[in-house]
């Protein structure tokens, strides 16, 4: 039995459900929006983890789940809590339920995609870059500073420079333009990240345990994820990675403690491989929908222990 956690209509979760149905793999779904009718407990006794979750008036033993796929949204933002005051019992219950679930993920003796803590490296991009470097990938020349003069010098050195957030807050990658230089003084309040722009082909690599799915992304914008907003175009194409690079991607995911990862690479015209980031909760559906790569199927195989 597999446990899915999140919002059923969310595309990656829906794609995994579709595969589970197609392959006749039994599963149950914890729908976050139905938190009020869900109960859960777990116990650790002499190192053994047991427990129970009650979904839609049916109880399931936690130790009977062979795999868990989780794409939980921030429970504080659930629509069902929109009008609830900060100290409402409903809010407290929702928090306690999610707290129980999340801490069970960390100790559950089963396949969890992904456990919460390993996903943490992405909260600090330059910290994660150091881990990426340790795994033998090139990382772009990066400067984080609160000194505008250093930024000007960095721009002079690299000619084309981008800037983006370094925390878990998502930001659109922007090219540093002449107009930005006029407001550089603002960085004195908070060190800001600037990066050499690397020419080349964007490649998103999804790793699922030992399986690798690589997608080449051609775009005419700085950040292909937002091409449509910037009036640009993006084309996705499934590609095969050289064995050595594929192995290195698996090694990187493992080093970060991730079973499932979305690795952002850029391969330069002289075939140097830069790694920008590892997404620990990748929305793979965009890539699967555009290339037909069987990522959801691989996930199901891993969760069921058959892949």
């Amino acid at each position: 039995m597999i446990l899915l956690c999140g919002i059923p209509s969310e595309t990656p979760l829906a794609m995994v459900r579709e595969q589970l149905n197609r392959l006749n793999v039994p599963y149950v779904m914890f729908n976050q929006r139905k938190f009020a009718s869900t109960e859960m407990d777990f116990e650790i006794s002499r190192g053994r983890v047991t427990g129970e979750i009650q979904l839609e008036n049916r109880s399931y033993r936690l130790e009977d789940f062979c795999g868990v796929y989780t794409r939980l949204m921030d429970d504080r933002l659930l629509p069902e809590l929109k009008d609830e005051p900060a100290n409402s019992p409903k809010r407290y219950y929702c928090r306690a339920l999610h707290d129980t679930l999340i801490h069970w993920f960390e100790v559950a003796p089963t396949r969890v995609v992904n456990r919460t803590v390993p996903m943490g490296s992405n909260f600090s991009k330059p910290y994660q870059s150091q881990l990426i470097r340790e795994q033998g990938f090139a990382v772009p020349e990066t400067l984080i500073t609160n000194d505008p003069d250093f930024v000007r010098e960095f721009l002079k050195q690299h000619k084309r420079v981008i800037y983006k957030s370094i925390s878990g807050i998502r930001s659109i990658v922007q090219t540093l333009e002449e107009g930005d230089l006029k407001r550089l003084d603002a960085i004195r309040w908070c060190p800001t990240q600037f990066q050499q722009f690397v020419e080349g082909t964007n490649v998103r690599v999804h790793t699922v345990d030992t399986k690798v799915f690589a997608t080449a992304v051609s775009t005419d914008t700085t950040d292909y994820r937002y091409a449509y907003r910037q009036g640009g175009e993006t084309e996705l194409k499934a590609i095969e990675l050289p064995d050595e690079l594929a192995s290195r991607c698996i090694g990187l995911s493992r080093a970060l403690g991730l079973v499932f990862a979305g690795i952002d690479l850029k391969i330069t015209p002289d075939e140097q491989v830069f790694c920008f980031e590892v997404n620990p909760c990748p929305a793979f559906s965009y890539y699967e929908a555009n290339t037909g790569q069987p990522i959801a199927r691989a996930l199901v195989g891993y969760l069921a222990g058959t892949g």
């Binding site: 116990e43 650790i44 339920l97 909260f123 600090s124 984080i144 957030s165 370094i166 908070c190 060190p191």
Partner: protein
């Protein structure tokens, strides 16, 4: 240069700073979280040539990663008082950016660092009590049973949990790179503490015990930020040796 990084009210760290200075670690710089927040110059670089960090504090002192020989890191959080006047959205964004930045530059400091930052905390592996119980069991320590349910009481900030009631007398030992200081322990508990530090990936770990459901030495908690004074002068000798690179990990 050696560094002691801590909050300005971390009495335990201030005590350790004096003790480490008395052991001849010079120059030894005491840098508070508040001073770091008001640094006038930050320069953190990553790339083909490696990783570097260069900080100039408001009092003119300079912290350069390549000159750091060892660090006692007790930072708990990033001070963001200087952002109080920013609009709330910018303040929240900047606070998260600063936390991410601190994790990275602290990780960039050359070893030995007690403790290295992780995404769980600036000074090491902060873990939920359920994980500590689970790890303690794996380490062979007698751990109490742990139970958590969705019906548990939640306070405003989260869920209050402890393995023993507040005020219960506990015995504390501190593990530093495999060396154990504090209350004398039975051999199997001693070994379990070393395994726990190893399993939790924590160079400097405080481990607490209380008489309880699993016997006289029932695991009562662990922290990467123990009160160093509990280890006394012996602990400072060990920390000084580790920071000098003289002491190998005790296998």
């Amino acid at each position: 240069m050696w560094l002691v990084l801590c909050a300005s009210n971390d009495i335990s760290a201030l005590w350790a700073y004096r003790g480490l200075a008395a052991r001849g670690l010079t120059p030894l710089e005491l840098v508070s979280a508040e001073m770091l927040a008001y640094s006038v110059h930050w320069e953190h670089r990553l790339g083909a040539d490696g990783v570097s960090i260069d900080i100039t504090l408001a009092d003119g002192r300079r912290i350069c990663g390549e000159n750091a020989r060892g660090v006692l890191n007790r930072l708990l959080s990033v001070s963001s008082e200087h952002l109080l006047l920013a609009n709330p959205a910018d303040r929240d964004y900047a606070t998260q950016e600063l936390a991410a930045f601190f994790t990275s530059w602290l990780y960039a400091l050359p070893q030995p660092v007690l403790n290295r930052p992780t995404p769980r905390g600036l000074s090491g592996q902060w873990r939920h009590v359920s994980e500590w119980v689970w790890l303690a069991s794996k380490a062979g320590l007698p751990a109490p049973d742990y139970r958590q349910t969705s019906r548990d009481r939640v306070d405003g900030m989260g869920i209050e949990r402890g393995l023993v009631p507040i005020g219960t007398p506990v015995s504390t030992v501190i593990v530093v790179e495999g060396h154990i200081v504090g209350t004398p322990l039975p051999a199997e508990i001693h070994e379990g503490c070393r395994r726990l530090a190893d399993l939790s990936g924590t160079g400097l770990l405080g481990v607490e015990f209380a008489a309880g459901s699993a016997g006289l030495w029932t695991f009562a908690g662990a922290t990467p930020l123990p009160d160093l004074r509990l280890g006394g002068q012996v602990l400072l000798d060990i920390i000084a040796s580790v920071l000098r690179g003289e002491l190998e990990e005790n296998e």
